[in-house]
């Protein structure tokens, strides 16, 4: 694979895209939608928590989830007909007889689609900066979330590209690429729910009586120790519980889970912030800190809790590295498969398909 080959294909695809569609309208609509959403969320947050600090945490979190959802709707359409559409127009074969390799064509098409997706993302940037300006979002979170969202959009573009190379009809592959996005988002939730239900187990737990030393350590006064030890009966509990620690990984490929969990945690209250808060409180001014209402943090803590075994106290372990690695592998596999399908001369053709 040569870089100039990829650039040739990508530039060509980009030019065609820009000239074919009503991009100004599409990008304009996107920009208005994202900006309006941000302003409305800000207004609602201001109305509900008038004196709250760090309003950016809520607005930014909601915006990230909104942009991700909207982008997952847009991106499949960018490559969903990339290869079979070219086949239908008869332009693919003339590309295949040039000296460009199949991988260069596949990667070039992906780069063009991904670049378009990133253009959409870039148009969301003013809204993102607006929300960050409301306070509470560290730069690290801004950077990590942006990078992870960009990577995930690349994965979705690669999957849609692959489907368009596998299927003869561009309408079929278009529909299937949306179903793929549906599977990644809603599908993972459904499968996780089923998996969690199936992981349900019976358990019995025995409570044991503390030793005298335990009670002393816990600060019980000596006069009640004997009574407490004498009254104590070890008991056995019966119950059922879902072992989500066995099935949490079913949720890991979900883009929303990955983005929320990958978002770095918000910094703890600094000493200076604490002093200023306490002095405000002494003066009777109470401010709610919206860092405690972090949507991304809540999702992240939620999935990390699912990963914990019952009774374990090892702390929360991250889920996103597994999900992101899985999705990236999926995307790389999709590109590889696309390149294989673009290889010429070919031995087999999809049913009902002409070479040229």
């Amino acid at each position: 694979m040569r870089v100039d080959g990829v650039v040739t294909v990508a530039r060509q695809e980009f030019t065609l895209r820009i000239r074919a569609g009503r991009w100004r309208w599409l990008l304009g609509t996107w920009f208005v939608l994202v900006s309006a959403f941000t302003v409305l969320v800000h207004l609602s947050v201001r109305a509900s928590f008038h004196d709250a600090t760090n309003k950016g945490v809520v607005v930014y979190g909601a915006l990230v989830l909104f942009v991700l959802a909207l982008a997952l709707l847009v991106v499949p359409s960018l490559t969903g007909q990339s290869v079979n559409g070219d086949r239908e127009r008869g332009t693919l074969a003339t590309l295949q007889v040039t000296r460009l390799t199949a991988l260069e064509i596949a990667v070039g098409k992906l780069v063009a689609a991904w670049g378009t997706a990133l253009a959409f993302l870039a148009l969301a940037l003013p809204a993102v900066l607006y929300s960050v300006a409301l306070g509470g979002i560290p730069v690290s979170r801004l950077v990590v979330v942006t990078v992870v969202v960009a990577l995930l959009l690349g994965v979705v573009a690669a999957l849609a590209l692959c489907l368009s190379s596998l299927l003869a009809r561009s309408t079929t592959s278009g529909v299937l690429s949306y179903l793929t996005v549906f599977a990644m988002t809603v599908g993972t939730l459904v499968v996780f729910g089923i998996g969690a239900a199936m992981s349900t187990e019976h358990y019995t737990e025995q409570t044991s009586c503390p030793t005298r030393q335990d009670l002393v350590d816990q600060g019980f006064p000596p006069e009640v120790l004997d009574r407490a030890l004498a009254d104590c009966r070890s008991t056995t509990y019966d119950g059922t519980r879902a072992r989500t620690d066995h099935v949490w990984w079913l949720l890991a490929p979900n883009p929303f889970v990955i983005v929320a969990d990958a978002a770095p945690q918000l910094p703890k209250e600094t000493a200076a912030e604490r002093r200023s808060r306490l002095s405000d409180e002494r003066a009777g001014r109470y401010h709610e800190d919206l860092r405690h209402s972090d949507p991304l943090g809540a999702i992240g803590r939620g999935v990390r809790d699912l990963r914990k075994a019952p009774g374990s106290d090892t702390g929360r372990k991250p889920v996103w590295p597994f999900g992101l690695a899985f999705d990236l592998l999926l995307g790389a596999g999709a590109v590889w498969l696309t390149a294989r399908r673009l290889h010429a001369p070919s031995r087999t053709l999809p049913r009902g398909q002409r070479v040229a």
């Binding site: 000239r19 003339t94 000296r99």
Partner: protein, 299 residues
């Protein structure tokens, strides 16, 4: 370019069942046969797009299956569909193909200029492809195949949709390319064009090669074919034919048709008509020699 025993089927359909073909440098080779005879499939095999099920193929000295890149660097292919991008201008399109052929940018720009001039598309250089007429698109498609100055040219129906002037120019261009030492393979149904243009002709029918001949040594036709006679005096011609007891058709402005079995029969009839002092102007197989041979070989 050599193909021997090429076979290729699509599922249960055997598109090519055994085609042999040789196209030499400096010659125009015509590939002729009915629709569905396997011409396009064979061209796809030669153009490094399809793997043949069996048979040996060499294009410009390389195997299109195992050395496709070497073949592509030396081969130009123009399919029977345009395969153009509607939203690019003619110049952008040719420059894109040049880049895809890994030509340096400056070479690509120069090549695009030359080819647009050659295709008489200079005025349309900066217009998007979708504004071109059918014939102009056809010419642009042909220029695409020439961008990298290939030694071998594969042209599938290059003249369909071209106006008469463009067809004359296409003939001259292909002769010129053959004159530069290129091997040119043309598949077409326009037999009159091919007859003037080609050095050799390969007939295919139902996936098989049924004949491979030099154009000036087409097989003598033994079966009777219509030949058309024209004389200054049509009534005198008809009267002479009646005297010689040669069955003939009704005279039309184009001439009088008779059934003749091959060149020798024609020469014989001509000699007798000349002796009978008929002022003959021309005597030709209807549709040309190639059409006669085609009809004979592809029953």
């Amino acid at each position: 370019m050599v193909a021997t025993g090429v076979r290729r089927s699509f599922g249960p359909v055997e598109a090519v069942r055994g085609i042999d073909l040789t196209a030499r440098p400096g010659e125009v080779t015509a590939l002729v046969g009915p629709n569905g005879a396997g011409k396009t499939t064979l061209l796809l095999v030669l153009a490094t797009l399809l793997v043949p099920d069996a048979g040996a193929v060499t294009v410009a000295g390389f195997d299109p299956v195992t050395q496709p890149d070497e073949v592509r660097a030396r081969m130009g292919w123009s399919p029977d569909v345009f395969g153009l991008y509607d939203n690019l201008t003619c110049r952008e399109y040719l420059e894109f193909v040049a880049a895809a052929m890994r030509l340096p940018r400056s070479t690509g720009e120069a090549r695009a200029r030359e080819l647009l001039a050659l295709a008489r598309l200079e005025d349309q250089s900066d217009q998007p492809v979708h504004t071109l007429s059918r014939g102009q698109k056809q010419r642009l498609g042909l220029m695409r195949a020439l961008v990298h100055d290939p030694a071998v040219l594969l042209l599938d129906e290059p003249a369909s949709g071209l106006d008469p002037r463009s067809r004359v120019e296409l003939r001259a261009l292909l002769r010129d390319l053959a004159g530069q030492g290129k091997a040119v393979l043309v598949s077409s149904h326009l037999l009159a064009d091919l007859e003037e243009l080609s050095d050799r002709v390969v007939f295919v029918d139902r996936g098989l090669t049924v004949g491979e001949h030099a154009i000036d040594a087409l097989p003598a036709n033994t079966a009777a074919h219509p030949w058309r006679l024209r004389a200054l005096d049509a009534d005198g011609l008809v009267a002479a034919l009646d005297r010689l007891a040669v069955p003939h058709g009704d005279p039309t402005p184009a001439g009088v048709d008779v059934q003749l079995a091959g060149d020798e029969a024609a020469a014989d009839l001509l000699a007798r008509l000349v002796r009978a002092k008929v002022p003959l102007v021309s005597c030709q197989p209807v549709g040309g020699h190639l059409e006669a041979a085609y009809l004979e070989l592809t029953r």
